[in-house]
Amino acid sequence: MVRPSRGLSGNLRLAGLILAGAVPVLAFGLFFFYPVGSLIGRGLVGPDGFDLSGVGDVLARPRFSRILWFTVWQAALSAVLAVAVGIPGAYLLYRCSFRGRNLLRAVVTVPFVLPTVVVALAFRTLFAQNGPLGSWGLDGSLVTILLAHVFLNYAVVVRTVGGTWAHLDRRTEEAARSLGARGTRVFLTITLPALGPAISAAMLMVFLFCATSFGIMLILGGTKYSTLETEIYRQTTQMLDLPTAAVLSIAQLVLVTVVLLVAARVRRRTEATLKLREARSGARALRWADLPAVVVTAAALLLVVVPIGTLLVRSLQTADGWGLDNYRALGSLGEGNLLLVSGWEALGNSVSSAVTAAALAVAVGIALSVVLARRPRERLPRRVIGFLDGMFMLPLGVSAVTVGFGFLIALDRPPFDLRQSGLLVPIAQALVATPLVVRMILPVLRAADDRLRQAAAVLGAPPGRVWLTVDLPLMARALAGATAFAFAVALGEFGATSFLARPQEPTLPVLIGRLISRPGATNTGMALAAGVILALVCAVVVFAVDRFASGGRRGQKSTQAAGVGGMGAF
């Protein structure tokens, strides 16, 4: 038997693929595994070499098990709540048609792109003792934390589940009805199982986000509630206890890996079903039977609108009535010259850093997606791709604090001394954003009919041109969305940035964190104004790109796929 001949161009293509894969592997190796490994190593290596006694020591502390348990159950509860509130929303916004539906879809998406610091600030303002709902006595309570988590992740559920729901073949339900099944029975036996993969994918993702949420916990949880993430922060910055922090990081790494493994499984099923769908759904008008869904969704909308509104209103309140004093204060250094730079300068830092981070994340994300979208027949390359797919998701769940601290100890001395280059912050932000970029582009590339590429090749297009004329146009919309999203994520990144930003170059979220940690009405007012500005920039960028990208190419397959594969298709 003759071995299959690849030929020169086959080898060239393989070389190109390996190169495309090498860039992300090197980048992740240097900027993720090396720093995180260094930090963990520091915790595990004592003065006499490798020393595991510390691990058992930490794990045996009652404080540790209490924190671990709290981390898991608050995240689980948040995920269940988000799904319970999100499913009726997904139904209304993707299965029914009514005036203003597109606007509503846009509104519910806003919270997800908001920086966590801003969200925490908004909820704190809402429930503060002197706040609009101060009388509810929820300031610093678990309820506030859960509400903030649902607020942030409502869109994940609505878009992931809704995207699937919109493309479910309605005729299956009609078939069940014609066989004599009633409404609830149709929903329970036909619709719900079909939505199963999407629901579990959304739930897992929300769990992951909430289990590692930092800004919310730090600002709303105070000293009363600690998760692994805030505890790592506390141990490293306040206790300077690196070994304990390292053990906690390992524990979180294990937790995240398990969740990601499960998520990868679920995702494969979702992507498989993605192909079966044609846009043969057709939303229908609202009926009285939809009333419960309308009520739940209205409540969710209140949850979305009220905190943002409170933030906005409070930012316009001054000591003597209404005015823009708080915004004017952004030009100052705060009460008692608390800050080294003004709010506007911090915004400039944020934007320039986020632009760099988005560019990095998109470049690495594209290279990665090109490799991960391949479906080789041979077993070994398939395994390698499956492995890479999972590995590059890790930064999603690894403590941003761990990454930030790892950067500090690993990349501030030769051979990789980047401390003074000012690149550490954008690189750390890109690291957090890259998995999201991949998750948005990859489903589109995978759903694209491979025969389009074959048709192009048969017509004489060399591989590079096939990519430019087929892959790139197909993923253009998803790519635009991913770029905007990466920018928003980088802009709002708080965990790693709070470690890495040099004191004279803080980003806006870091500045907000500093402002609200100090007393003083002027400082609080300034934080509110900064929060509004930050939220505005995020929302405007994401919307502008979404509008721009969807304007040109409506009603195409790629558009649908991008919608499904949008930020929720994890």
């Binding site: 086959g10 048709a455 192009a456 004489g460 004329t469 146009p473």
Partner: protein, 325 residues
């Protein structure tokens, strides 16, 4: 230039999809690869296009061995079952794709009279879609999409056109019309082509030669007429449209077209009706005949045969062939 396949094998993992196939297509001829689904005919076509690596054997075009020639340098055209048009390009953008696929091609077509756009118009006219230039492909019907796909494949004047069940996704009336157009276009352009189909009527409508495939192997290969008149085996006979195979009373095996057995009260054969299927102009029935088993027969539409009736049939040898071997 001839397309020549010698002992070509293609495998997926441990499954052999195409098993030592040898074929030849002469310039200007159309070869139909005919076989049931899963017989490896599409895989073979994709191997010729360069989309599947060979496990063994050789494919040559003229003097050129195609091993190591990448897909985009083969100069072949390929048409898929369902068009696979580029959704983000207009009709003209799709057809022009192969004319602008790389710098050299683009430059060459620019020098031609009227350039790329004239060539696009020429092809639109050829496939009967003049005026569709700036239409979006999503707005086309299935038949129109296939016409655009054909125009796209023909535009760069390929050395060889590969058609992978190009009409299978269309409904019957449209299929017949497109089949006739396709035959005319292939003849008018003198295109050498390989046409994959599972439908013997399609194969007979467009091809000069036919290769009947089963389980990855070519069972019979030859001019259309010859294969039709002399199927080499019972399987081939049944696949290309013979309805029954019986032991010839005169010795040997006989393959019958449905019209070889006719209802006739004075016929020499007797059997019991097991099924009745009225057609617009005739009555198709199945009959159990002692010694032959179940065979198909036809009668006039007004014949009142019902299941269970005993009927008499007459054998018309001009509608039957003796199987070799």
């Amino acid at each position: 230039m001839d397309l020549q396949l010698s002992d070509v094998s293609v495998a997926y993992g441990t499954t052999t999809a195409v098993d030592r196939v040898s074929l030849r297509v002469r310039p200007g001829q159309v070869l139909a690869l005919l076989g049931p689904s899963g017989c490896g005919k599409s895989t073979l076509l994709r191997a010729v296009a360069g989309l599947e690596p060979l496990r063994g054997g050789r494919i040559t075009f003229g003097e050129q061995d195609l091993a190591g020639v990448p897909v985009h340098r083969r100069g072949f055209g390929l048409m898929f079952q369902d068009g696979v048009l580029f959704p983000h390009r207009t009709v003209a953008g799709n057809i022009a794709y192969g004319l602008t696929a790389d710098r050299a091609t683009r430059a060459a077509w620019r020098r031609v009279d009227g350039g790329v756009s004239a060539r696009v118009e020429e092809l639109l006219e050829l496939v009967g879609l003049s005026g569709y230039t700036d239409r979006k492909v999503a707005s086309l019907s299935g038949g129109e999409q296939q016409r655009v796909a054909l125009a796209r494949a023909l535009a760069p004047a390929p050395r060889l056109l590969l058609l992978d069940e190009p009409l299978a996704a269309l409904d019957a009336g449209l299929r017949d019309r497109l089949l006739m157009d396709l035959r005319g276009i292939l003849a008018a352009t003198g295109t050498t082509a390989v046409f994959v189909t599972h439908d013997q009527a399609e194969a007979f409508a467009v091809a000069d030669t036919v290769a009947v495939m089963e389980a990855g192997q070519v069972r019979q290969h030859g001019p259309l007429r010859e294969v039709w008149d002399h199927p080499v085996s019972e399987w081939v006979a049944r696949f290309i449209g013979y309805s029954s195979v019986i032991d010839d009373p005169a010795g040997g095996r006989l393959a019958l077209r449905p019209s070889a057995l006719r209802l006739d009260p004075r016929g020499e054969i007797s059997g019991i009706v097991t099924g009745v299927s009225p057609r617009p102009e005739s009555l198709l029935i199945t009959v159990t005949v002692d010694g032959w088993g179940v065979v198909s027969a036809v009668g006039p539409s007004e014949a009142g045969a019902a299941v269970g009736d005993r009927v008499r049939l007459r054998l018309d040898r001009s509608h039957a062939v003796v199987l070799a071997g």
